[in-house]
């Protein structure tokens, strides 16, 4: 896989920049406190299985406390604060994130397993940018198209996944606070650390106590939080299965809900695509972040007339992917986030083989400790294969073919999901024709996996409802007026 002449030497990013405490409490009412029930769990580095820290598990009384703290802050200082002043807190937070960016990136790579190159160059810049963007909305909500006097909803419960821990936190907290809400956020069980450092940043920014509360825990904690009587709104990013369950829990109540769920995006390559850039787009689409991306281009739909050539180039390109230590600056593919996720990826890949698809990975040395899966493609896949329908959430690409633009649209849309899609062609009218017909919340044409705080993101159908980012992202955090 690597060059014999020029193998690049190890280029490790130093861990010394981050100070991980041996244990963390819950962040409630502006302070770190011990959990009422005293339960803890460990978070590990998935690249080495080393324990990073002990983290608290919030129990029912802790959730009560957190919601109460958020309510108190909402009814008191935050709810009555002008947008102008709220904005300044958010700008402070954005600036501190900029300042501590490298430290947060290293911590994210340690806790999540993603390459430092990605946490440094993609995650952290977007985190800061989100806070900066929404800070600017806080004092101009009356111009946002939601009425002359828009009001916050109240206390928001926010549950986020492990794939982009700090970035998902930013997508949730920034708009919520900008609109005047207070929040109780639960980071994912396997990636709590950057959220806990974010809590420190809130303290550094002087954010009033109770505006942001971080309750760590697993599935049970999340369930308690979204089902709590004292919250006014739930924002969830995660699997469609859990999203559905939350929607049922909230049925018949006035609690608002926004969901950002799974996907099985089609990345469509036409015979006239700019070939080398399209191959980059395919690779970035499924192997970026180890494929742990809801909007990953996990189905390659390649025009049949050029399928062989595209696949040859794809395999050749995949052979230059460097898998290994996430803290090495030259690593392209990091660790799978958990044993459970690795097991699921393996299971679905085995199903792919059993259903007759042909599996290929470049020669890849996997470290012996940690959770690893080589970048993999399956060819000979059709819509009738499970690996074309079910979200694998790993570095596994299913390759299908199509003959005509209409067929590409039919196959791309033939799924209960509808989060994203990619189109590669050199023809302008075809780009727009395809974008028009793809039933997906985000369409990337001649590019992929691009994000920006001003650009609304979210799904059609079972990929969820509501949008994050842009003016549209305010809607989920403002009361419906009449």
């Amino acid at each position: 896989m690597t060059s014999k002449l020029f193998p690049y030497s190890p280029a490790p990013e130093s861990r010394a920049i981050v100070n991980i405490a041996s244990s963390y409490g819950l962040f409630i009412g502006g302070e770190f406190v011990e959990p009422d029930d005293g339960e803890t769990f460990k978070t590990i580095n998935p690249a080495s299985e080393e324990v990073l820290a002990e983290v608290s598990e919030a129990g029912p009384r802790d959730i009560d406390r957190a919601v109460a703290a958020a309510r108190k802050a909402f009814d008191g200082v935050w709810g009555s604060m002008s947008g102008k002043e709220r904005a300044k807190y958010l700008f402070r937070i954005a600036r501190i994130i900029h300042e501590r960016s490298r430290e947060l990136a290293v911590l994210e790579s340690l806790d999540n397993g993603k390459p430092i190159k990605e946490s440094r160059d993609v995650d952290l810049p977007l985190v800061a940018a989100h806070f900066f963007y929404y800070a600017g909305w806080a004092d101009k909500l009356e111009h946002a198209g939601f009425g002359a006097n828009p009001k916050p909803i109240g206390v928001a419960a926010q549950v986020i996944p492990w794939n982009f821990p700090l970035m998902m936190l930013a997508w949730k907290i920034a708009p919520a606070l900008a609109c005047g809400n207070t929040v109780v956020l639960k980071p994912a069980e396997t990636t709590p650390l950057t959220a806990l450092v974010f809590a420190e940043i809130c303290q550094q920014a002087g954010l009033p106590a109770g505006v942001v509360n971080i309750v760590t825990g697993a599935g049970d904690t999340g369930k308690m939080l979204v089902g709590h009587d004292g919250i006014d709104k739930v924002a969830f990013t995660g699997s469609t299965e859990v999203g559905r369950a939350i929607a049922k829990t909230l049925a018949g109540t006035r609690k608002r809900l926004s969901l950002e769920l799974g996907g099985k995006a089609a990345n469509i390559v036409f015979d006239d695509a700019p070939i080398d850039e399209a191959v980059e787009g395919i690779v970035g689409g499924i192997f970026f972040n180890q494929g742990h991306v809801c909007c990953a281009g996990s189905r390659l739909l390649v025009q049949e007339s050029v399928a062989d050539e595209v696949l040859d180039r794809l395999r050749r390109r995949m052979s230059t992917l460097r898998l290994g230590d996430p803290l090495d600056k030259n690593t392209d593919v990091g660790a799978i986030n958990s044993y459970e996720q690795l097991a699921r990826i393996r299971e679905l890949s085995d199903i792919g083989e059993a259903e007759g698809a042909e599996r290929w990975s470049p020669a890849c040395e996997l470290p012996d400790r940690g959770f690893w899966f080589p970048p993999t493609i399956f060819t000979g896949v059709t819509q009738a294969h499970r690996i074309a329908r079910e979200e694998i959430f790993g570095p596994v690409l299913s390759v299908l073919t199509f003959r005509t633009p209409d067929e590409a649209i039919e196959k791309a849309n033939n799924t209960p999901y509808g989060l994203s899609a990619g189109v590669w062609t050199d023809k302008g009218s075809r780009i727009l024709w395809m974008a028009d017909r793809l039933r997906a919340g985000v369409v990337w044409a001649n590019t992929f996996n691009k994000f920006d705080p001003s650009s609304p993101f979210g799904g059609y159908k079972e990929s969820g409802y509501g949008r994050e980012g842009g003016r549209h992202g305010l809607e989920a955090y403002l009361a419906k007026g009449k």
């Binding site: 198209g145 369409v443 842009g470 419906k480």
Partner: protein, 294 residues
């Protein structure tokens, strides 16, 4: 010799109220009907009692119509809806009688409601080609990309029409949903369905493609669950349903993540400015990225 008949003795030709599905007026496939009474308790007419199969057929019709209606130009949709207002205006007196018979009260109150309904249709006709400019955006992303967001209709939307306001309320929940390109299956007010059927006669003669609006009359509690659980229905407007049914319907809707509009605690005052909320409820936002380069 036959006695000369006066005008007052003329026997009227009574209207048969049927369902409106796919642009046609079928009876319920179940053959059932139910008596509808006026506000003063007198028998007014028999209305079709829709079954789950009628609901199923209505969804099929709505889905079949979605492609054409959502792909029509906004200008075209606006023109069609304006024509609806024209035809409604022509039938104004008929509507005033029906609304007054169903809802009671003075004629001029009924007349005001009908006029407001017609004006509201005109208002929504004008929205068709403007929503995109109000909620769409060119997003200033931090990179060499053209990035824009456009609204798109969600798909097939099932609507429970308001129980009390038989025309103005109905128009207020229906028009914003179809103006943007959605197609609908409407559950008319159970007790006051007649103006709804007359409205469908207007729709049928107004260039509105069949299947864009499908109207079911009957027992809301019987039919609503079939729509709420239907996997080919994308949106659910619970405005007119009894509050006791709300939770179970929303739970059923969650199976395919339908976009749900929850009922209000009390039926709104339909004479107030509607705002844009109902226009945007059943819209998706699609964001498109493309590099800017030579």
């Amino acid at each position: 010799m036959r006695a000369k008949k006066t005008e007052d003795d003329r026997i009227g030709v009574r209207k048969t109220y049927k369902l409106y599905i796919g642009g046609a007026f079928p009876r319920s496939e179940s053959g059932r009907s139910y008596p509808v009474t006026n506000h003063d308790g007198d028998f007014a007419a028999n209305a079709a009692l829709a079954s789950r199969k009628d609901a199923r057929d209505a969804v099929v019709a709505a889905r079949a119509a979605f492609g054409g209606w959502s792909r029509a130009t906004a200008y075209n949709r606006g023109q069609v809806l304006y024509r609806v207002a024209e035809v409604m205006e022509g039938r104004r007196d008929q509507f005033v009688t029906e609304v007054r018979d169903a809802e009671g009260g003075k004629f001029d109150v009924a007349a005001a409601a009908v006029d407001a309904a017609i004006d509201r249709v005109v208002w929504y006709a004008g929205w068709a080609d403007k929503v995109a400019q109000v909620v769409g955006a060119a997003n200033p992303v931090a990179g060499p990309f053209f990035d824009f967001s456009v609204p798109e209709p969600t798909g097939v939307v099932a609507i429970a029409a308001p129980a009390t306001s038989s025309l103005l309320g109905l128009v207020s929940v229906l028009l914003p949903v179809i103006a943007t390109g959605n197609t609908t299956v409407v559950l008319a007010s159970e007790l006051r369905p007649l103006a709804a059927i007359t409205l469908t006669e207007v729709l049928a003669t107004s260039d509105l493609p069949g299947g864009v609006v499908n109207m079911l009359t009957g027992r809301v509690a019987e039919v609503a669950p079939w729509l709420a659980s239907h996997a080919d229905v994308n949106g659910l407007d619970l405005t007119g349903i009894p509050l006791a049914l709300w939770r179970d319907l929303e739970i059923a809707a969650a199976d395919n993540l339908k976009r749900v509009r929850r009922p209000d605690d009390v039926e709104p005052d339909w004479s107030r400015d509607p705002g844009t909320d109902r226009l945007t409820t059943f819209l998706e936002t699609k964001t498109v990225w493309h590099p800017l380069g030579v």
